[in-house]
Structure formats: structure tokens, C-alpha cells
């Protein structure tokens, strides 16, 4: 593999497949990032401002609601990263392969 020439860069960036790949991946990437940032800081703000809510007891269990939300945060991190890796390998991997094949890279 060699460095790309200016011409090939122009060709690739003008290719509709490349544009579609970049845009699709950007949408996905920023949406997931916003989700995890929102979840985490939502949780942090709740600790700061909605203490009473986190202290709510669910049934007779030993834990208040905040505890379950904390566990939920851990699971959602695993879930989100899993979704990303799956899609990156399946959809974006395929789009990249198609692009590389079409352009003979």
C-alpha cells in the first residue's frame, strides 16, 4: 500500500459509495456518542439534583432505585459498544469492501 495521490483522493471523495459510507458512519457514530454522553451525564445530574428520586425503594429489596440505574449504566455501555462493533463489521465493512472493489484499490 502506498500513499494516495491527489487525483485518487479526489476520485475517492467524489465516489457516491464513499460519500454514503462516510455519512452513514458519521450519523451512527455521533448518535451513539450522544446517547452514552446523555445517559452518563443524565445520571450524574440526577445524583446532583434528583436525590430523592434515586432514593426510591423498589419493593422490599435492599437497594434504592439509584443502584439499579447504576447497574443499568454498566449494561448499557456493554450494549452500545456491542451494537457499534456489530454494525461496523457487518454494514460498514460491506460498504468499504464494495467501494474498494469498485475503485480497484
Amino acid at each position: 500500500m502506498e500513499s494516495l495521490t491527489e487525483t485518487s483522493v479526489r476520485l475517492i471523495t467524489a465516489n457516491p459509495r464513499f460519500i454514503a459510507l462516510v455519512n452513514a458512519r458519521a450519523r451512527f457514530r455521533w448518535a451513539l456518542s450522544a446517547t452514552i454522553v446523555g445517559l452518563f451525564f443524565g445520571f450524574v445530574l440526577m445524583v446532583g439534583f434528583a436525590r430523592k428520586f434515586l432514593e426510591t425503594r423498589l419493593g422490599d429489596g435492599p437497594f434504592p432505585l439509584g443502584f439499579y440505574l447504576a447497574i443499568g449504566m454498566v449494561l448499557s455501555v456493554v450494549g452500545l459498544t456491542g451494537i457499534y462493533v456489530h454494525r461496523a463489521s457487518s454494514l460498514f465493512g460491506r460498504m468499504t469492501d464494495e467501494l474498494v472493489e469498485e475503485m480497484g484499490l
Binding site: M1, R51, L54, P62, P64, V74, L80, T81, Y84
Partner: protein
């Protein structure tokens, strides 16, 4: 490897062993041991510890056979599998802070400690979504390879090696403190000697084995840590007949905070402080040089992506186990005065060896000397491996970025470059040991929070903007990144941790413990403003080069080949 090096290793190992055994003998001669609970246990603990050190030295020695080129030294030849790398990344990240620091925070503060753990975890998706793939596609060995893709090589490299060095220094302090404390508790050695031993071992791993050895030490340690943590957590559950209800009932009964231990408490009571810490934890991980460096040890972007996923899963699992250890330690230790410096000592701060040692005491309570020895060896191994990884990252910043690319302008043989990095490793080991003496009694998870704040304020903004914003120019990167770096370091200096606790002034000038809420936005603002005002010819060509960078970042075409030649 030649026989000479072999024997050098052997004699060093022997010297360390002698130093440790010597210290035991000194205690047996009548010096009062500072650790009454561990006096009968140290032989086993010592054996465990030496076993690990011996095993890792063998690995280092074996892998030094394979370390021939710079690619081998910095990036293990690109031949590590994603699962192995996931272990290694988790190993790098699950430092003393995670195991000892967070379990101590849960022990003392309950729910608030769990928030810390979640903050550490929340950084992983950011690394995966924004950084890992593009970094792998663009770079060779270090982060500066990426930022200098379209920016001015020389300036950017100087800046990012300096910022990497500062982040690593901040991050090394808590690791060394943790290691020093473990050895002090375990062998009754003086804290200073303990820190020196860690320093020496680190330098050996890094200078002899490079990335190959560091990676393997990291993988083994991560596995040990996961096993040790699981055993410890499970032993607590077993003790309470697998009933979390009974465990928590005991915790709320014996803990000074009572049932408030299950609720958000003082640690995050100020929302501004909490957000500041949150920013540091979430975005700091994406700016840690020793973590980012690991993406170059796998073959391609897919490998980088998968390794982050595996690493995230390991860290997540650990986040669930750690609270169990912290609460278990509270429930079981707080009833037993013999674990405290005096029977009337504070139950949250009066543990022998400090609160950071809660997990170790718990191991002793649950499984006696053998288990104590095992967990202590794991904790020590953890720290040693992290310190080695950090030292390697810092050494690469000096040798690959500062020396080879800037000072020698690329005209340097790989041999010389590796040699410079070994010298740097020795210097860094020395400096970090000195710093560790200054910060002996800080909570180590908290200290890592500060390191992450610095990373989130200089490395992360520069990296993310250079990857995603066409408009960024060299001046923007230097100005904004410099602003973030300077403000975060200065604000740490003016906060309670340094201003009051180290320099003993009366009141802190900066009211929040963590600087990220000020310094991180400052960095982004600086990058944006200065880049936008930059009308130079160079700036125009840097913006034009974004397309070429984008193509390579997205599809990996035109990636440098050196890092993937082997295999």
C-alpha cells in the same frame, strides 16, 4: 538474547529477592512490624510475589528474542490478536485505581464509589466510537503520528510528546503510590524502598522486552486480576450465603454512614464538581497515551475496534465485581478492630496501611494468608504492569516523537531510536518514583481522576478535532491544546489536593477538585478560535489535506506499512 543479558536479568532478580528477604529478616530481629495482621503471612505472600516477578521476567526475556525492529519494540510487530489486545487494554486500564482505589471508595463512601467506577467505564464507548478505528488507520506507533498527518510535524510532535509525558507523569503517581503501599503492607518494607523496587522492575520490563513483553505481562495480569477479583467477590457472597440482602444488611449496620451508604452522598454533592469529574473520566480515557498506543499492536482497524469491545466488556464486568468487594470489606472488616490502627480509629479512614488497602485486608479475612498473598501479588502485578505500559508510552513519546522525528529529523537508525527510548524509560522510572513520595496518602482513584482531567483537556481535544474537523490548523492545535494543558495543570495545582494537602496552604484557590469543567472547554474553544483566525498559507494546505486524511481514516487505504510487516 545473548547469555550476558540473561545473567544480568538473573542477578537483578536475585538482588530484588534478597532485598525483600533481607527486610523480613530485619523484622524478625525485633523491629516492630507495622503490619501485625500480616506478620505470619508474609512468607506465602513473598513466595507469590516472587513467583509472579520471576514469571514475568521469563516472559520479558523470551519476548526480547522477538524484539528486533522498532515496530516490534513499540507495537509488538502488529501481531497481537484482538482478544489478547482486549485483555492487554483492560489490563492497562484496570490499574491500581480500579482495583484498590475504587474498592476503597466503595468501602468508605458506598454508592459514590460506584459512580466512580461507572465514570471509568463510560470512557470506553467514546474511545470506540470516535477514536480507535481512525487512529489505527492513520497512525504508526504513537498518537502524534496521527495529529501530524496533516499538521506541521515538528510543532505538533513536540506538543503532543510534552502533553503525553505530563499525562503519564500524573497517571504514574497514583500507580507508584499504590504499589508502594502494597509492598509496605505486604513485606513491612519502608515505603521508599517499595517505590524504588517497582521503579527498577518497570525499567527492566520496558528496556529489555519492549511492547511484546509489556503486552504479555499485561495480558497475564489482566487475567489474574479478573480471576482474583471474581474470587474475592464470590468469597464475600459465599460468606453471606449468596444473599446480597444479608450482605447489605450487615453493611448498613456496621458502616458509620448507616443506611446512607446506599445513597448518593457527599462525594458528588456539588453538581458542578460531579460534572467536572464526569467530564474527566468520560473523555480522559480517550486521551491516555498508553491506551491509545495499544491500537497499533493489532493488524487493522477491525482489530482495534474488537479489542476495545473486549476491553470494555472486561472493564464492565469488573465494575460489577468491585462494589461487591468494597461493600464486603465494609461489612466484614469494620467489625474487627484488629484491621485498624487502633481500636477506636475511624472506621472509614483508620485501616492499617490506609483505606486503599481495604481489598487486601478483605482477602486476609476471607481466605487467610494464602488468599492474602495471592490478592497482594495480583494487586502488585497490576500496578507493575500498568507502570510498565505507561513508561513505554512515555519513552516512545521521547524517542519516536521528540528524538527521532524532531531532533534528528527522521535521520536516525532504529537502533539508536530504541536506545534513546530505553534511556528515557530509566529517567521516567526515576522521576515517577520521586513524585510518588510526595503524594503518599491520596486516594489513588481520585489521583487518576486528575490524570484523566489533564488527558481530557489536551490530548483528547487535539486528537478529536484533528480527526473530525477540517478547519483545525497547527496553530489551533498548539494554542488550544496548550491552553487546555496549562489550565488543567495549573488548576490542579491550585485545588485542594496540591495547594492544601501538599503545600499546606490554608484554603484552595480553585474551588473544585477536578479541573476538567474549565480546562476542557477552554481547549476546544482555543482550538476553534485560533484555527478560525489562522489565515496562513500553511493553514490552507492543512485544511486541504483533510480529504486525504479522511480517505485513509475511513477505509485504511494508504496506511503506513511498517507496523504490519511481520506475520
Amino acid at each position: 538474547m545473548n547469555p550476558q543479558t540473561h545473567s544480568r536479568l538473573g542477578s537483578l532478580f536475585g538482588a530484588v529477592a534478597l532485598a525483600l528477604i533481607g527486610s523480613r529478616v530485619a523484622h524478625a530481629d525485633g523491629m516492630p512490624s507495622t503490619t501485625p495482621h500480616t506478620s505470619g503471612t508474609s512468607a506465602i505472600a513473598l513466595a507469590m510475589f516472587l513467583l509472579f516477578v520471576a514469571a514475568t521476567l521469563v516472559i520479558t526475556w523470551r519476548s526480547s528474542h522477538k524484539t528486533k525492529s522498532a515496530a516490534d519494540f513499540y507495537a509488538a510487530g502488529g501481531g497481537i490478536t484482538p482478544l489478547q489486545n482486549g485483555f492487554a487494554i483492560a489490563g492497562d486500564f484496570l490499574s491500581a485505581a480500579a482495583f484498590l482505589g475504587i474498592s476503597a471508595l466503595v468501602y468508605a463512601n458506598g454508592f459514590d464509589g460506584m459512580l466512580y467506577a461507572i465514570g471509568f467505564l463510560a470512557g470506553w464507548p467514546i474511545v470506540l466510537f470516535l477514536i480507535s478505528e481512525r487512529l489505527r488507520n492513520l497512525g504508526l506507533y504513537t498518537v502524534s503520528d496521527v495529529t501530524s498527518f496533516r499538521l506541521d510535524r515538528k510543532h505538533v510532535r513536540v506538543f503532543s510528546s510534552i502533553s503525553s509525558l505530563i499525562v503519564v507523569a500524573f497517571y504514574l503517581i497514583p500507580q507508584m503510590v499504590g504499589a508502594g503501599k502494597v509492598v509496605q503492607l505486604l513485606f513491612g518494607l519502608h515505603y521508599v524502598y517499595a517505590v524504588v523496587i517497582v521503579g527498577v522492575l518497570t525499567v527492566v520490563y520496558v528496556t529489555v522486552g519492549g511492547m511484546q513483553a509489556t503486552t504479555w505481562v499485561q495480558i497475564i495480569k489482566a487475567a489474574l486480576l479478573l480471576i482474583g477479583g471474581t474470587l474475592l467477590g464470590f468469597s464475600v457472597l459465599w460468606h453471606y450465603g449468596l444473599s446480597i440482602d444479608r450482605l447489605m444488611a450487615d453493611v448498613t449496620q456496621v458502616h458509620p454512614k448507616g443506611s446512607a451508604i446506599l445513597l448518593p452522598g457527599g462525594l458528588f454533592s456539588n453538581p458542578v464538581s460531579a460534572i467536572s469529574l464526569g467530564l474527566a473520566l468520560m473523555f480522559g480515557t480517550a486521551g491516555l497515551p498508553h491506551i491509545l498506543m495499544r491500537f497499533y499492536t493489532v493488524r487493522d482497524a477491525q482489530g482495534a475496534r474488537k479489542s476495545v469491545f473486549y476491553a470494555g466488556c472486561f472493564v464492565a464486568y469488573f465494575c460489577l465485581v468491585i462494589p461487591l468487594i468494597g461493600f464486603g470489606a465494609a461489612a466484614i472488616l469494620m467489625n474487627d478492630p484488629s484491621y485498624f490502627t487502633s481500636p477506636s480509629a475511624s472506621r472509614t479512614t483508620g485501616l492499617i496501611g490506609g483505606t486503599n488497602m481495604a481489598a487486601l485486608h478483605l482477602a486476609n479475612a476471607m481466605g487467610g494468608p494464602l488468599f492474602f498473598g495471592f490478592i497482594a501479588a495480583v494487586a502488585f502485578a497490576t500496578i507493575l504492569a500498568v507502570v510498565a505500559g505507561l513508561t513505554l508510552a512515555a519513552a516512545s513519546a521521547v524517542s519516536h516523537d521528540l528524538y527521532a522525528q524532531v531532533i534528528a529529523k527522521g535521520r536516525v537508525s532504529e537502533r539508536t531510536e530504541i536506545w534513546v527510548s530505553k534511556i528515557s524509560a530509566i529517567a521516567i522510572g526515576l522521576i515517577s518514583a520521586l513524585l510518588a513520595l510526595l503524594f503518599e496518602n491520596q486516594n489513588i482513584a481520585f489521583m487518576v481522576g486528575l490524570a484523566l482531567a489533564v488527558a481530557a483537556s489536551c490530548n483528547f481535544p487535539v486528537l478529536v478535532m484533528s480527526l473530525y474537523w477540517r478547519g483545525m490548523t497547527t496553530w489551533g492545535a498548539l494554542g488550544g491544546g496548550g491552553l487546555g494543558l496549562a489550565s488543567s495543570v495549573v488548576l490542579v495545582g491550585l485545588s485542594k489536593t496540591v495547594w492544601v494537602d501538599v503545600f499546606h496552604f490554608k484554603a484552595a484557590i480553585f474551588p473544585y477538585d477536578n479541573p476538567a469543567i474549565v480546562s476542557m472547554p477552554l481547549a476546544f474553544l482555543g482550538i476553534w478560535l485560533i484555527s478560525s483566525l489562522d489565515r496562513s498559507v500553511r493553514a490552507a494546505s492543512e485544511r486541504n489535506a483533510f480529504d486525504a486524511q479522511l480517505v485513509r481514516a475511513e477505509i485504511g487505504i494508504g496506511r503506513p506499512v511498517t507496523a504490519i510487516v511481520s506475520h
